[in-house]
Structure formats: structure tokens, C-alpha cells
């Protein structure tokens, strides 16, 4: 955020009343099992025009705070202590009618899922017009024209068309802009944003984040931005509150918290996210050990105690730990009794360094692989016109033994289709996929032998979906072992299950548990165990950590790397997150709308020459490091539908460098820059080569590097 805004936030004029103030706020949920404290002793002061970030992992109470501010707690939630002052008035004393007037007019909220916030049965115009009609009693025409203007100011093209369309007719990014427009229509004093971009693609997210920043400057709205992503908070907010297990553990300006953190949890959080400089071999991530305690099983004293490396018995586990102001005079506070004793400049725990692995022979060779779907429009017997969805178009790349190849792209880029062809659930339309010297492209899974199937396994994205909830963990792993014929003797199968649980660092008695008794990270470990049960030579990991909490992500990523190193497995890592990819990939393939736009080693992808799409992607990824300076490359428009891709270059509709008449009609040529580094673009070589780097790292203090 801008320096001026930070200064303003740090030194508010004394006459100003905070827009929102939470004092010692305690919120509990009342359930069958009794009172569950969700948020304890929460303090926050939000000045006019200020943007506050709340960051924390799932279950830390950040959404509960937002709901409490809206006084929208549901039947079983209640504020049990403290007060919430909105413009100096305690919201708890307001009547239901007063609250109704305030919600939507003075306080507005934007939720994570845009489609769930819009009424699918009403046109967007009607929904937007409701806000001024209800709160200001204006005429419908007046309301509609205001709505139109607001759509323009959230940078939506063709507001007239959008006003008359229904929510399902516009894309996810546009929907979220409509929701933001709706929130802003009544010119609220306070805007609550609860993970507003989590459901969106990175390049679309970048646009929304830019919009949110502009709104703060243009309308002077105070904002509370709730997110699990530190990088996003860095880009949008002035101040940050870090929450852990129902408590705020550290509060301060962005600069203080990011560069001079004073709580072990914050420190652990930063060490477990991949930022430029982290590297899987020389500078691995350090995860926070243990798990977030359940709300009814919090330890005495400091909630973070059991996971903290600075834990001291009889000091950290007694009484309640107060917030301690840190003596640098900028409203920086930490909930740590040892804040003055810990050497905050020490390097955080040592991750195990390891030798870079040397890739072996080519294991998987994808040659001109193409997958088209024929879609028939028409009813049962009367087939109408056919059209083709080009899910994968002439993919070319190979993967060597023990190498990590990342496939990067946003939704609709064809990575899932590619995985399906590889796994044998679909057959390729054209081209070949060679595993060793066996062509798999046109061999569906039921024609592959158990040998081949076990060579190629997959780790799935969603930990809650990856295991069958009806069977025990051990049973599911054992089934894989038996199916692949690795072992047939019951005793040996059981021994192998135990061995696999050891490998993924889970207790052995987990074999008897059912998936519902496991946390997300543990389920993902079981998923990894299952994938490696048949000693595969290639493992496809489809965003294996994106659904996990930050502190767990690092541990699972490291585990995957360790097993890969051990077995010299080839890893195809599908992801949209370039930070993770930079950290663990050896080579990267960038895909867009079913085609490869650029491929090369990690260093080649992250430094010029770039493909214009790679450039935008790099710029879009939020990085939680105040020393990283990024060049802004903002894309307009949305990702086109794969069933109706642009002629010529698929990226031509959004490309800032688009050459009219060439890019939109002729497919781009593959330009080879060095062996293996290829860019599919019409731009002349010189122009590509002359691009400036997107990410630049300023000199950092030795502490972090």
C-alpha cells in the first residue's frame, strides 16, 4: 500500500472517530456440546479510509469476526463479551430495524462465492437497483442509472448489457465485480471483504485486487479484508491482524508485521510460504509442526504453545496471555509472553538441505498430443450441429526420471483433460503419449495392465474428496497394493500399508481410522501414500496442496519432494500458483486454453524473454514479501470459453501486445530461445528478448535470505 496511507493510519487525527472499533470482543457458539468460544478478546480499531487485513488459517475465527460485525451470527452464535462500536455506537444495543438500515447501506459485505451472493432468478439490474430503492427510496429509473454508473466504476465493459443479463450469463470475475458494485452502491462507510478472490483465477484475481485498491482511494471506504493469503493482504491493506485459534496474535502495520514480526506463529507462517529465494534443495520451506487445536480443545495459556519452538513450560501454558504493545511506537502488538526475550533476527529452524537430484532418462514423452471433444447440440434422436471443444491442442513436452515438471495454467487451460488422457480415462484424438516405449494415447485404462497402471498414479486436489468416507484408511491403501499385485499375501499387504504410513509420517493406528477422523493435511498424506503404493514411475499431482492451510501446505509439499527424491519418481505438478511452482519445479510448461504457450526451465520461465501470458501470470501472483517489486501487467477481459476459442493465438483476446490482423487470425509459431525454452508468440524475437523482468527482489536483510 502507499506510504501516505500507511502514515495516515499510523497517526490518526485525534478528532476522528473510528469507523469501527472492537473492544475485547468475545464470540461463542452454543452447541449441543456446550459453549464453544470462537473468538476471544479481539480488539480492532479501523479509522476512516483505512484498510485492515485479517489473516489466518481455517477455523481461526476470522469469518466469525466479520459475521459479528454484521450482527449476523445465526441462531447459535452470540457475542458474549466486549463491544462492537460502529461510528461510536455499540451495535449490540441497536434494534433489529436499525441494524437492517445499517446493513447494506453503511456496512456492506462481499463474500467468497459470487454466484451464491447473487439471486439467479433476477437480472443484475434489478438486484442492483434494489439497494438504492430500499435504502434511499429513489425511483426505479434513478436506481438503474446509478447502478449503470457503478458498474462502469467497477470497470465492467458494456454496463447496459450486464444490467439486463442474469448472473449465470456473465463470468465469475464479472460476477464478483457486480457484487462489489452492489456493495458500493449505497456508498458504505465500511466494506467487509471475506476472501473475495479465492474462487477466481489468478489473472482475474489481480484485476479485482487492483479494483479494491482503487476503490479505497476513490471512495474513501474503510475496508476489512479477510484472507488466508498474506500476499493479497500485502497488496491491499495498511494494517494487518494475524489470527490464530480464535485470538488475534499479532497486530500492526504491514511493514512492521511483514519485516519485523514479533510472534512465533507469524514467523512460522512466513517461513512456510514459498517466496522468491526459497528453493527446494538449498533453502527448503519450514513447516509449523502439529495442528491447529480444535476450538473446544485449546491448550491452557498460549494457544500456539504446543506448536511453538520457543515454548517454555510454566510460562506459556498458564493463565491468559495478553496482547503486549511492542516498544517501537507504531501500534504494533503481539500476544506472546516472551516477546522481549526471543531473538527475532535468528534464522528460523534449519530446513534440511539436500543435494539437487540429477534427472535421468526421458520417462514420459508427449508428442503432438491432441484431445478434441465433439459436442452435439440436439435432443436424443435428432442430432443437431456438432462443434468441437479443443481441450488439448498439439501438446509437446517430455519429463525425465526424478524430474519435477510443472504444468501451469488457469481454469479451462486443459490440464485436467491432459491428466485424464494420461490416466487412461479418455483417449487422445491424435498424437502420442509414450511411457517408456509404450504408447498410452489411445489405450484406455481397462486395456492397460496392472504393471502400466501402477507406473502412473495421481494425487488429487481436494483432500475431502480424495478418500472414500465409508472405508478405513488402511483398507483403501491395501486395496491399491492388492490391485497392483505388489503383494498378495495378507500379512505382507498389511506390513506394506504400515510401511507406507511411516513414509508419509502418519501414526500406524491411522490404518483403522476413517477419513472423517483425519484433518485435511492428513488426508492428503494418505492420498500420497496411496499414489506411491505401487512404486510408480510417474506421479501426477493435481494442485495437491492448494486446498490446505498454509502451515500444512509446506509439510505436505516437503513430504512429496522427499518421497520423490527417495524413489526417483517423475512428478508432473499441476498448479496455478507460480510461487509454489517456482519453489519446486525443475521445468515449467505454461498452458492457456489447451495449448502450450511457453516451456523451459524454471529460471528461463521466471526471467525474460517471457510469453506475454507468462508475464501477466507472474505479475498476478501475490507475493508476501515487502522487498519484492513487481511490474504491473493487468489483463483485461476474461478467459474465453474452450468451446469457442479465438482463431489464431488463444491469448490474442487479452494480450496487451496483440498485433491486429496477425495474432487474431494466424496460430503463433513456436520460437526456440535455447534448447528446451520455447515460446509460442508472433512477437519478433528481439521484442520478446527485450522484456523487463516482472519480479525484482530488493536487497533484503540477511535474516530472511
Amino acid at each position: 500500500m502507499s506510504e501516505a496511507a500507511t502514515m495516515e493510519a499510523v497517526q490518526p487525527s485525534t478528532a476522528e472517530i473510528p469507523v469501527l472499533e472492537c473492544r475485547n470482543l468475545c464470540i461463542s457458539y452454543f452447541t449441543r456440546a456446550g459453549e464453544i468460544p470462537a473468538v476471544v478478546d479481539f480488539n480492532m480499531k479501523l479509522m476512516p479510509g483505512e484498510a485492515q487485513g485479517i489473516v489466518g488459517e481455517s477455523g481461526c475465527g476470522k469469518s466469525t469476526v466479520a459475521l459479528a460485525i454484521m450482527q449476523y451470527m445465526g441462531k447459535n452464535g452470540r457475542v458474549v463479551g466486549g463491544e462492537i462500536l460502529f461510528e461510536g455506537r455499540d451495535m449490540r444495543t441497536m434494534s433489529e430495524e436499525e441494524l437492517r438500515q445499517i446493513r447494506g447501506s453503511k456496512i456492506a459485505m462481499v463474500y467468497q462465492e459470487p454466484m451464491a451472493s447473487l439471486n439467479p432468478a433476477m437480472t443484475i439490474g434489478d438486484q442492483l437497483a434494489e439497494v438504492p430503492i430500499f435504502h434511499e427510496s429513489v425511483s426505479k429509473d434513478e436506481a438503474l442509472s446509478r447502478a449503470g454508473k457503478m458498474l462502469e466504476s467497477v470497470r465492467l465493459p458494456d454496463p447496459e448489457r450486464i444490467l439486463s443479463s442474469y448472473p449465470h450469463q456473465i463470468s465469475g470475475g464479472q460476477q464478483q465485480r457486480v457484487v462489489i458494485a452492489m456493495a458500493l452502491l449505497s456508498n458504505p462507510k465500511l466494506l467487509l471483504l471475506d476472501e473475495p478472490t479465492t474462487a477466481l483465477d489468478v489473472t482475474v484475481e489481480a484485476g479485482i485486487v487492483e479494483l479494491i485498491k482503487d476503490i479505497a482511494a476513490e471512495f474513501g471506504t474503510s475496508m476489512i479484508y479477510i484472507s488466508h493469503n498474506l500476499g493479497l493482504i500485502l497488496e491491499t491493506c495498511d494494517r494487518i491482524t494475524v489470527m490464530y485459534s480464535g485470538e488475534a496474535v499479532e497486530v500492526g502495520s504491514i511493514k512492521d508485521v511483514f519485516d519485523a514480526m514479533r510472534h512465533p506463529y507469524t514467523r512460522g507462517l512466513f517461513a512456510s510460504i514459498p517466496v522468491p529465494g526459497a528453493d527446494k534443495n538449498s533453502h527448503p520451506l519450514v513447516s509449523i509442526p502439529g495442528q491447529l487445536p480444535l476450538p473446544h480443545q485449546r491448550p491452557p495459556g498460549c494457544n500456539f504453545g504446543p506448536r511453538c519452538e520457543f515454548f517454555v513450560k510454566d510460562r506459556c501454558d498458564v493463565g491468559s496471555i495478553p496482547m503486549v504493545e511492542i516498544s517501537n511506537g507504531s501500534h504494533h502488538a503481539s500476544r506472546c509472553v516472551r516477546v522481549d526475550e526471543i531473538d527475532w533476527d535468528s534464522t528460523i529452524g534449519a530446513g534440511d538441505e539436500s543435494e539437487p537430484t540429477v534427472p535421468g532418462d526421458v520417462v514420459l514423452k508427449v508428442d503432438d498430443m491432441t484431445k478434441h471433444y465433439e459436442i452435439e447440440k440436439g435432443a436424443l434422436f435428432f442430432s443437431g450441429e456438432k462443434h468441437t471443444v479443443k481441450a488439448n491442442e498439439k501438446l509437446n513436452f517430455d519429463a525425465r526420471e526424478a524430474e519435477t515438471v510443472a504444468i501451469v495454467g488457469e481454469s479451462g487451460c486443459g490440464k485436467s483433460t491432459f491428466a485424464k488422457v494420461l490416466m487412461g480415462l479418455e483417449t487422445a484424438t491424435d498424437g502420442s503419449v509414450a511411457l517408456g516405449n509404450l504408447d498410452l494415447a489411445e489405450m484406455p485404462v481397462d486395456r492397460r495392465g496392472p504393471e502400466t497402471i501402477s507406473k502412473l498414479q495421481m494425487v488429487f486436489q481436494n483432500p475431502f474428496d480424495t478418500l472414500n468416507p465409508s472405508h478405513t484408511v488402511g483398507g483403501q491403501i491395501a486395496r491399491v497394493i492388492r490391485k497392483f499385485g505388489a503383494e498378495t499375501d495378507e500379512k505382507k499387504v498389511k506390513a506394506r500399508v504400515m510401511e507406507l504410513l511411516d513414509i508419509v509420517k502418519l501414526p500406524r493406528d491411522f490404518a483403522k481410522r476413517r477419513p472423517r477422523q483425519l484433518s485435511g493435511g492428513q488426508k492428503q498424506r494418505v492420498g500420497i501414500a496411496r499414489a506411491f503404493a505401487g512404486n510408480p514411475s510417474v506421479v501426477i499431482a493435481d494442485e495437491p496442496v492448494s486446498a490446505l492451510d498454509v502451515s500444512v501446505q509446506a509439510a505436505v509439499t516437503e513430504l512429496l519432494m522427499d518421497i520423490q527424491r527417495e524413489n526417483r519418481t517423475t512428478l508432473l505438478f499441476i498448479s496455478h500458483d507460480l510461487s509454489v511452482v517456482r519453489y519446486l519445479a525443475d521445468r515449467i510448461v505454461v498452458m492457456y486454453l489447451g495449448q502450450i504457450m511457453e516451456q523451459g526451465t524454471t529460471d528461463e520461465i521466471f526471467s525474460p524473454p517471457y510469453h506475454p501470458y507468462t508475464e501477466a501470470l507472474l505479475s498476478a501472483v501475490p507475493i508476501a514479501n515487502t522487498h519484492v517489486k513487481k511490474r504491473k501487467v493487468l489483463l483485461t477481459g476474461e478467459i474465453p470459453s474452450p468451446s469457442n476459442p479465438p482463431k489464431g493465438c488463444p491469448f490474442s483476446t487479452r494480450c496487451p501486445y496483440m498485433i491486429a490482423g496477425t495474432c487474431d487470425t494466424i496460430p503463433p509459431p513456436m520460437v526456440e530461445f535455447s534448447t528446451g525454452h520455447r515460446i509460442a508468440c508472433h512477437l519478433p524475437r528481439e521484442e520478446l528478448a527485450a522484456m523487463e523482468p516482472v519480479i525484482q527482489i530488493e536487497k533484503e536483510p540477511a535474516r530472511v535470505a
Binding site: Y29, R32, H296, L425, F460, D465, N468, S470
Partner: protein, 350 residues
């Protein structure tokens, strides 16, 4: 997100039955004797007599079922303890279940023997005190009512069970394999569903003749399409999960995926629906008997009792002959429905 709703690690419905396998075994011990007794108790005994020359009393078959029913009731109550509605429902159902297995051992008059006609409830005649009076033929109402629950229960539950097996099998095939299988199965299901249920019953039973086994066939024919639709819908949802994808990619057969991966994950809603459908089936069987298409006289049956006393009971004085069996049917159906409600409520909380 951070909203904490259910604090203790949530436990599944089946898991609450302590150990599902044990509960299922007890249910089989309680159910099989009753089924055997009602469906062919005397025939079985005759067969034993032919073989050994000794005819055991058919009532002995029911002996092991009595403790099993009581035990099952205790298990159900402890499993349902959070829902008062489910407990009331289970109590009603288990009351009739218990009566059904103990009927031969209760101190009842012979349900088929005429004693004294038209005795109103709570009066004594010929030195016998009739709690619920006697019917127009002079048979004891209490005895007939209690004995009458056997056939409704056994045929109702058996018919629903068979309907579920057929419906679930077709539903899994339509949902998982999809394509042409789905087109054909769904089309046939829609055709059957387009007939009014009663018309369908009457047509089938007229054609096949009136008997308990034919009621099972008729109920299966009429209910399976609706069950198929429920299971198909659930299967369509479950088959998109990653664990199904994982099973496919390790080369499991379609049958294995349907039975092992899909079936256990669709059973929750199916159990709730089954309780509701038990109620419908009970109504259907009683109605069919009333119409003379179901179970045949003279053995006591609620539908039959209503039918036989329908004319007599037009006089207000004799309305008890109609009300008693009607209320009995209602209480059993209410029991099933309340149990379904309670189960649904509990599964929502999970």
C-alpha cells in the same frame, strides 16, 4: 470457513449404532424367525414332520426373536437418543414388532374362534372380560388386533426391502454407467411412474392373483422406479468425487466401483427414505387387503378387519370394530414416519 458449528468430531448415523455389524446381526435374528413364521411356518413344520415323523410347535420358531427384538430396541433408543421424535417413532414401531414376535405366547383368546358377537369394549360376557370387545362374528378384537400386526409388518417390510434392492441396483447402473443404460432405465421408470399406483397394484394383483408374494412383486414394481431415481441422483453426485476417479484410474471394474465406492456413500439418504416408504407400503397393503386383493381370510389382518366390519360399523355403537384396526395401522405408519423424520434430522446435524 471459520464458523464453528459442530464441535465434536461428527459421527455418522451408522457409526452411532455402536457397531453396525452387530446391530445388523441382531436384526436378522429378530427378523428371520418372524418372516419364516408368517410366510410358511406351518408348511415348514409339515415338511419337518414328513422327514422326522415329529411335528414341532411352530411357535418355537419365534423364541430367539423375542430377546433379539428387545435388544434391538435398546440399541435403537441409545442410537437415537438425541432426537425425541425418532425415539417416539422407534417406540411405536418396536411395540408392534414385539407384539408380532410374542403373539403366540401372550394370554390371548383364539383370534379365529367366535365366542359372543357384538360385545362392546370393557364388558364381560359369558364369564369372559373383553377389553376391546368382539366383532360381528363374536371373535375377540384384542386378540385379532394384536395378531393382525404380524402379516402387515412382515409383508410390508419384505416388499419394501425387495423394492429397495431392485431400485438401488437399477439406480446405480443408471447413475454410474449412464449413457444408453440411463436412457432406457429412466424411460421405463417414467412409464411405470406415470400409472396411478393403486391402478398398478390392482392390475398386477388381478393378473397374478392375491397373495403375499404377489404383493411383494406389485410393491416392487410400483416403488422401484422412485427408488431408482433417488439412487441415480445420488450416484450422479458421488461419481464425480476424486475417490471414484482414483478407483477408475487403478482399473477397478464398474461393478466394484458401484458396490464398494458408491453404495456405502449413498446409503444415508436411502435409509431415511426407506423408513418413509415402509409407511407407504403399509398403507398400500392394508388398502389392498381392504379391497380383497391382498391377504385372504380368515387369519386376522388389519385391512381385513376393517373390510369385514365396514358395514356393521356404520352404526355408531359398533364403530369400535373399525376404529381399533384403523388406529393400529395409523400408529404403525406414524411410527415409521416419525423414525424417518428423526433420522433425517440427525443426519442433517452430522
Amino acid at each position: 470457513m471459520a464458523v464453528v458449528t459442530a464441535p465434536p468430531p461428527s459421527v455418522s448415523l451408522m457409526h452411532r449404532l455402536k457397531n453396525p455389524k452387530a446391530a445388523v446381526t441382531i436384526f436378522v435374528i429378530a427378523w428371520l424367525p418372524l418372516m419364516l413364521y408368517v410366510m410358511g411356518g406351518s408348511a415348514l413344520m409339515a415338511a419337518i414332520e414328513d422327514l422326522t415323523g415329529f411335528r414341532p410347535n411352530a411357535d418355537y420358531i419365534l423364541l430367539p426373536a423375542i430377546p433379539a427384538v428387545l435388544l434391538l430396541y435398546v440399541i435403537c433408543i441409545s442410537a437415537f437418543r438425541e432426537s425425541a421424535i425418532a425415539i417416539i417413532g422407534a417406540t411405536l414401531v418396536f411395540f408392534w414388532f414385539f407384539i408380532a414376535v410374542t403373539a403366540p405366547y401372550l394370554p390371548l383368546l383364539d383370534p379365529n374362534k367366535p365366542i359372543a358377537p357384538f360385545v362392546p369394549p370393557f364388558t364381560a360376557k359369558n364369564d369372559v372380560f373383553f377389553i376391546l370387545g368382539t366383532d360381528f362374528k363374536g371373535r375377540d378384537m384384542l386378540s385379532r388386533t394384536l395378531w393382525g400386526c404380524q402379516r402387515v409388518l412382515v409383508w410390508g417390510v419384505s416388499a419394501t426391502f425387495v423394492a429397495y434392492i431392485v431400485g438401488t441396483a437399477f439406480g446405480l447402473i443408471a447413475g454410474y454407467i449412464s449413457g444408453w443404460w440411463d436412457e432406457i432405465i429412466s424411460f421405463l421408470g417414467n412409464v411405470i411412474l406415470s400409472f396411478p399406483v393403486m391402478v398398478l397394484f390392482i392390475v398386477i394383483l388381478n393378473y397374478l392373483g392375491a397373495s403375499g408374494f404377489n404383493i411383494v412383486i406389485a410393491v416392487t414394481f410400483a416403488s422401484a422406479p422412485a427408488i431408482m431415481r433417488i439412487v441415480r441422483g445420488l450416484a450422479l453426485d458421488v461419481k464425480t468425487r476424486d475417490y471414484v476417479f482414483a478407483a477408475q484410474t487403478r482399473g477397478e471394474s464398474a461393478l466394484w466401483i458401484m458396490v464398494v465406492e458408491l453404495l456405502p456413500n449413498v446409503r444415508g439418504p436411502i435409509i431415511v427414505d426407506a423408513c418413509l416408504r415402509l409407511g407407504y407400503t403399509t398403507v398400500a397393503i392394508t388398502t389392498l387387503t381392504f379391497l380383497g386383493l391382498g391377504l385372504q381370510p380368515p387369519d386376522p389382518d388389519w385391512g381385513l378387519m376393517i373390510k369385514e366390519s365396514a358395514k356393521t360399523a356404520m352404526l355408531f355403537k359398533f364403530s369400535y370394530m373399525l376404529l381399533i384396526p384403523a388406529l393400529s395401522v395409523s400408529s404403525l405408519i406414524l411410527g415409521f414416519n416419525l423414525m424417518a423424520d428423526g433420522l433425517r434430522e440427525m443426519s442433517m446435524r452430522d
